[in-house]
């Protein structure tokens, strides 16, 4: 039997095992020395300047707690791991942890409180040990009746409403208002007339949004004007709808338009129907209608998404006159490329008033122009003040949440 320690075979595995054993022994030695070294048992310095107050501009049931970080958080001995927020309903009562934040954070919102009840708070800086701030309170939560952060919006709404009322009243008194021509709307008569001459229907798409979207409502008001012209010209109007509520309203709008035109008998409810509320199924359906019915004129007015170009290009291929209008900025280039006329942004909202030529409706367009002039002036002033770091002016227009 070979009793030598360093034989060739034994060497092979001992070379592997020995360094590993040495490493484990050293590691254990280091751990033992470290365990016996003195530990910092002193607690971190407590958070200071703790404030607790009812969270402003909220629905209630929420208290905000702010504090100044412990001097051992990010500085000093830098040992703070985080903070616990403690709450009690009496100053001497039992405090319970209601939340925790990591080191470096100095604010917390307690949303598990009741309105009109006294609460006391403490903030605890944590390491191996901990230290508490002095108790603050009592503080009560309550809901507010006015959102102070939205004052700038309120002022703007009041001014704009006053402008609308002023210009509408001026128009009613007979003041002449100039509204620049909108080619897309000037073409409506021509488009409806062409459809009548060709004996082909007119297609009206209300967009792919719901009735709560202002773009859909604006489109419905334009539909009323267009439907009246269609009824006068005795042409056929097709309105496939994406949303059942929009369909119901569209049926009423078209019915009333036919009634106004003195042609209630020409109204056919089946021409305003629900097609699909699936985006591309709707696009496929509308494309099919364009190609089968060979529509003479297509209106795309409302809110559109990725299907805009699929619809407009198919209409273009079919040779229809196309009038589009949307407030979806990303879809505008597609409509501009594929349609004969496109109402860009605000033109779309002015279209109903423009078509009606009613002075009181045109008055609202004038108010829009003045609103725009005001915004331009504010942008120029803002640019000027921002260049000189005069932030007070810019902060005036910050809307709080």
């Amino acid at each position: 039997m070979d009793t030598r320690f360093w034989t060739k075979e034994k060497c092979k595995w001992r070379r592997k095992v020995l360094p590993l054993t040495a490493f484990i022994i050293l590691l254990a030695l280091w751990g033992t020395i470290r365990a016996q070294s003195p530990v910092d048992t002193l607690p971190p310095s407590p958070p200071t300047e703790v404030t607790a107050f009812d969270t402003p501009n909220d629905a209630g049931k929420n208290i905000t707690i702010n504090w100044k970080l412990s001097t051992d958080d990010g500085a000093g001995r830098n040992i703070v791991k985080g903070y616990d927020i403690l709450r009690s309903e009496s100053q001497e009562g039992k405090f319970e942890v209601v939340g925790s934040v990591v080191a470096g954070i100095s604010t917390f919102q307690d949303d598990k409180v009741k309105n009109r009840r006294n609460y006391f708070y403490k903030v605890r800086a944590k390491d191996h040990t901990s230290s508490d701030s002095p108790t603050v309170g009592p503080v009560q939560a309550s809901g507010q009746w006015y959102h102070k952060g939205k004052t700038v919006v309120l002022i703007f709404v009041v001014i704009f409403t006053a402008l609308v009322i002023y210009f509408v009243e001026s128009a009613k008194k007979g003041k002449k208002l100039y509204v620049r021509p909108i080619p897309g709307m000037d073409a409506v008569d021509e488009a409806v007339g062409r459809a009548t001459e060709m004996g082909r229907p007119i297609l009206y798409i209300l967009g792919l949004s719901t009735i709560s979207d202002v773009a859909t409502i604006a489109s419905l008001t334009i539909l009323g004007r267009v439907a009246k012209k269609v009824a006068e010209f005795q042409s056929k109007l097709l309105v496939p709808c994406y949303n059942p509520i929009v369909m119901t309203v569209a049926q009423e709008v078209v019915k009333n338009a036919y009634l106004d035109a003195g042609r209630p008998d020409s109204y056919d409810e089946s021409n305003i129907w629900f097609l699909s509320s699936s985006q591309f199924a709707y696009a496929a359906g509308v494309n099919g209608i364009m190609l089968r019915e060979k529509t003479a004129t297509n209106f795309y007015l409302g809110m559109f998404y990725a299907e805009s170009l699929i619809l407009a290009e198919t209409g273009n291929i079919a040779g229809s006159i196309q009038i589009a209008g949307t407030d979806a900025v990303t879809q505008l280039p597609f409509f501009i490329t594929s349609c004969d006329y496109t109402l860009i942004g605000e033109e779309f909202y002015a279209a109903s008033a423009y078509l009606s030529r009613e002075p009181k409706l045109l008055g609202s367009i004038k108010a829009q122009d003045w609103g725009k002039a005001g915004l331009i002036a504010l942008i120029i002033l803002g640019g000027f003040f921002a260049s000189f770091h005069f932030d007070t002016f810019i902060n005036l227009f910050t809307v709080g949440h």
Binding site: G143, V153, S278, G288, T337
Partner: protein, 208 residues
């Protein structure tokens, strides 16, 4: 009365919702949530009207054998098939027929429709970028710079193109977008006010 009552409801509803926006109190939030709930409830009922409309429209086309009635027949069969699959064959679990048809039939069809967009973009771009005027030429140049600047090979060809492309998007493009956005905001507010104040009433009929 036929016009006064809807106008009064619109006015009250509109004013309440405007005021609600400025009141963070819980009562105000509950009113808002209530309105949203009612909207969903009404939406649920109106869906029945939508399906009714769909069935009537297509049945009529099939009955009268109007042009393209075959498509209407497919639409009706699809509706019935999905309803049966959902109601009688295990509901909406992912391994049941309803979801299987949705995942393996409807989704690919929709994806196919969406892919058509690539071809339409090509044909629309061809029309838009024809340099027939000074402005069209500018548009063409801007489009070329932005397109090349957005792809990795662009920077390899000429490294400043990425910077120019980003500048075009961040400044001239952003200015135009924000200008349209401001106009849209004013237009929306103006339309909402016209409807709430009863100035715009064409949706009720009887307008000039």
């Amino acid at each position: 009365m036929r016009r006064q009552i809807p106008l009064a409801i619109t006015f009250i509803g509109g004013v309440v919702m405007i005021i609600q926006y400025f009141i963070p109190h819980q009562i105000s939030q509950e009113i808002y949530r209530g309105v949203l709930d009612w909207q969903m409830i009404v939406g649920g009922f109106v869906l029945v009207l939508g399906i009714g409309s769909l069935v009537t429209h297509h049945t009529e086309k099939v009955k009268r054998q109007k042009e393209g009635w075959g498509y209407s027949l497919v639409a009706l069969l699809g509706l019935v098939m999905m309803a049966i699959a959902g109601l009688f064959f295990g509901g909406m679990a992912s391994d049941k027929p309803f979801m299987q048809i949705f995942i393996y039939a409807q989704n690919p069809i929709q994806a196919t429709m969406f892919s058509l967009l690539a071809f339409f973009i090509a044909s629309a771009a061809y029309r838009a970028f024809r340099a027939r005027s000074f402005i069209a030429t500018l548009l063409l140049l801007a489009a070329i710079i932005v397109m090349i600047g957005r792809v990795p090979i662009g920077a390899k060809i000429w490294s400043p193109i990425r910077v120019i492309s980003n500048w075009l998007l961040d400044y001239p493009n952003m200015v135009a977008k924000r200008a349209i956005g401001l106009g849209v905001g004013l237009g929306m507010l103006s339309t909402a006010l016209k409807i709430i104040l009863g100035i715009e009433r064409s949706y009720l009929g009887g307008g000039k």
